[in-house]
């Protein structure tokens, strides 16, 4: 086809360039990259649609009462099963994870950004952090299993799950904190030094307050990732506990593991309970992401 047209116009100037064909190629390429960009959106849309359908069927055909679903603990009886224990367990898990990862994470970011000399050791730490961020989550679960359960002999308790998740999100918190610290202009630091403040005073009074919204945003996003993590919790062995944990030393089943357990049940009722559980989990994640976005937008223009 293209050879035919180029033969017809062969004697003209630039006759070997078929402009129509080139424009067509241009549009085809645009179409391909647009399709690539839309692929993720469509896949996510289909997934959400599927869950929304199951949610709807669960509420209508299986008469799952949302109020009861949120206020009852798990059960082997499908008509008695609820999500309260799992929600409480996940929130507690997030508390432990945040407590364990925040201080170490922010501390090491402050060291790396504000104090660390640019030498081999620093580069080694930073390379390690980049690698840690890429480690599959199940490996952290294995680590917690080997060190805390088989090593120290703890059971599948909230603390052990929290340690696995804290290790998982720590690199993310460190990197986002580093970025937040870097965003504080050097002039502000120098201004502080000029008034006679020490380095620690400068960091505590000037740099940290300015970077805090960014640090919180990064932490919340990291926790939003942790709350949906299933693999480390499965490795740790937290799966089939149908009750509320009252402290970090109680056994638990978080939201993702409860959903996992329900989805493997033969009964369709349980599978629709799982769908409703997914909606609750997604809502909580979206809420956390929303808070993070709000914080970022609110403090973006200041400093």
């Amino acid at each position: 086809m293209s050879t035919d047209t180029s033969d017809d116009t062969g004697e003209e100037l630039f006759g070997d360039v078929d402009l129509g064909w080139e424009h067509l190629k241009n549009r085809i390429f645009l179409g391909i990259v647009f399709a690539a960009a839309m692929f993720g959106v469509v896949a996510l849309g289909l997934l959400l649609l599927d869950i929304a359908t199951d949610f709807y069927v669960g509420v209508t055909e299986f008469n799952i009462n949302l109020g009861e679903f949120l206020t009852r603990d798990g059960s082997r009886r499908e008509e008695l099963a609820g999500f309260r224990g799992a929600i409480v367990a996940s929130i507690m898990l997030m508390g432990v994870t945040a407590f364990l990862s925040f201080f170490v994470g922010v501390g090491s970011a402050i060291y790396l950004e504000e104090y660390a000399p640019k030498n081999r050791v620093t580069r080694l730490i930073e390379a390690n952090l980049a690698n840690l961020a890429g480690v599959p989550s199940i490996v952290y679960g294995l680590l917690a299993l080997a060190a805390l359960r088989n090593g120290i002999g703890l059971g599948p308790i909230v603390l052990v799950g929290g340690v696995a998740l804290a290790l998982l999100v720590m690199p993310i918190i460190i990197v986002s904190t580093q970025e937040a610290l870097r965003a504080v202009p050097d002039g502000v630091r120098r201004g502080s030094y000029a008034t006679g403040a020490t380095k620690w005073q400068t960091i505590r009074r000037v740099v940290l307050p300015a970077a805090l919204p960014g640090i919180f945003t990064g932490t919340i996003l990291a926790l939003a990732r942790a709350i949906g993590e299933t693999a480390p919790l499965l490795m740790v062995g937290a799966l089939f506990v149908n009750r509320i944990p009252y402290g970090p030393f109680d056994r638990f089943s978080g939201m993702p593991t409860q959903i996992y357990a329900w989805a493997a049940e033969p009964s369709q009722h349980f599978i629709h309970l799982a769908a409703i559980g997914i909606v609750v989990l997604l809502t909580m994640m979206l809420f956390m992401n929303g808070v993070a976005v709000y914080l970022r937008n609110k403090y973006e223009t200041e400093v």
Binding site: G155, P156, F240, V241, G247, P248, F249, P266
Partner: protein, 342 residues
């Protein structure tokens, strides 16, 4: 001057922050002690149960009922599969082990190496259903020999007509459990003669739901799995059980409650077990012993509630006798237990 005041305020903030942290820590420890400590009079503590995916629902349901009666008891059931479960059980990592088959010689060795003394209770019966798509109108029954030819190692069965000549010349899509499951061990031993003897080109999965879904979606689908999973979807989806030849009475039978409990559906019906660690019983005699009693008292109901079949009445009596002999072994009397045989 200004600087000094503000430093002072800063240290107070820091001190109060530390105090808050200490408070949180103390609260956590208190929570731990509160959770671990028992109520007065009743039973308390945690029972760790490992084992079979298949039997876990029964043990879990027994545990939930036990917890309803004794709220300070938690029965934590971790369904990692029969084989994986015995690895835990034989290393003293669990008190109770659900099993969809008897312990193997290799596992006995691990238990012996770790000085784990144990015994089992039969808690119910499971039927393995051989399933086909409802649109499939040619397979009306299947013999044990045909099942073996279809599933054995290096089987040359590719189409339905390879199984029985009058069946159509269409390719079969085979779906079944993977080798981690007791169900797999049971099927391969009973049908193919040896555990692990199976063709290597079927779709293997650890989720029985997937097997049932795949067969319901494809007219040429063929597979097997626990009958509870079939029951859950057979009313809504085009899937049904194939009558299988019985090695006890000849004839062809579906895995219905009547056929399984009468023993006609054989060999694809199997007993389900709960193994108990005798050392755990010695350590926490009342807790573990009462749970064994409680489980045995209502095992028939628990099994039926979870879509399985009840073991015969004689088994209940035999189980109680076994518990009595365990108690004797650890130097306790049956009257010491909070839960008595019914």
């Amino acid at each position: 001057m200004m600087e000094q005041t503000s430093i002072a305020t800063g240290s107070i903030t820091r001190r109060s922050a530390l105090a808050t942290l200490a408070g949180v820590g103390a609260a956590s420890i208190a929570g731990c002690l509160g959770g671990g400590g028992g109520g007065d009079g009743g039973l308390s503590g945690t029972i760790d149960a490992s084992g079979s995916n298949t039997v876990a629902p029964i043990t879990s349901w027994a545990g939930e009922n036990f917890s309803n009666e004794y709220p300070d008891v938690l029965v934590d059931v971790d369904p990692q599969g029969t084989g994986a479960g015995f690895q835990e059980f034989c290393r003293q990592n669990s008190d109770v082990q659900s099993a969809s088959r008897l312990i193997t010689d290799e596992e006995v060795e691990i238990c012996d190496d770790n000085d784990v003394n144990y015994d089992n209770l039969e808690v119910g019966l499971d039927g393995l259903a051989v399933v086909k798509n409802s649109e499939n109108d040619w397979v009306e029954d299947i013999t044990l020999e045909e099942l073996k030819r279809t599933w054995e190692f290096e089987s040359d069965v590719e189409t339905w007509s390879d199984i029985r000549e009058e069946w159509p010349d269409q390719e079969i899509a085979l779906h079944a459990r993977d080798s981690a499951s007791g169900t797999f061990d049971y099927f391969t031993r009973e049908i193919n003669g040896e555990i692990g003897n199976v063709r290597d080109d079927y779709s293997a999965t650890s989720q029985t739901n997937e097997i049932m879904g795949a067969v319901a979606d494809n007219v040429d689908g063929f597979g097997w799995g626990g009958v509870g999973y079939l029951r859950a979807i057979e009313d809504d989806q085009p899937i049904e059980a194939v009558p299988v030849e019985s090695d006890s009475t000849g004839g062809f039978f579906r895995p219905t409650r009547e056929n399984v409990e009468s023993g006609d559906y054989s060999p694809l019906a199997r007993p389900l077990f709960a193994y108990f660690n005798i050392a755990s019983l010695e350590e926490r005699t009342d807790l573990i012993g009462s749970f064994a009693r409680f489980y045995t008292n209502d095992a028939q109901q628990f099994a039926r509630d979870e879509g399985f079949f009840a073991a015969p009445d004689e088994i209940t009596d035999e189980n109680h006798d076994r518990i009595d002999s365990w108690l004797e072994e650890v130097g306790a009397s049956p009257d010491d237990l909070t839960v008595q045989a019914e």
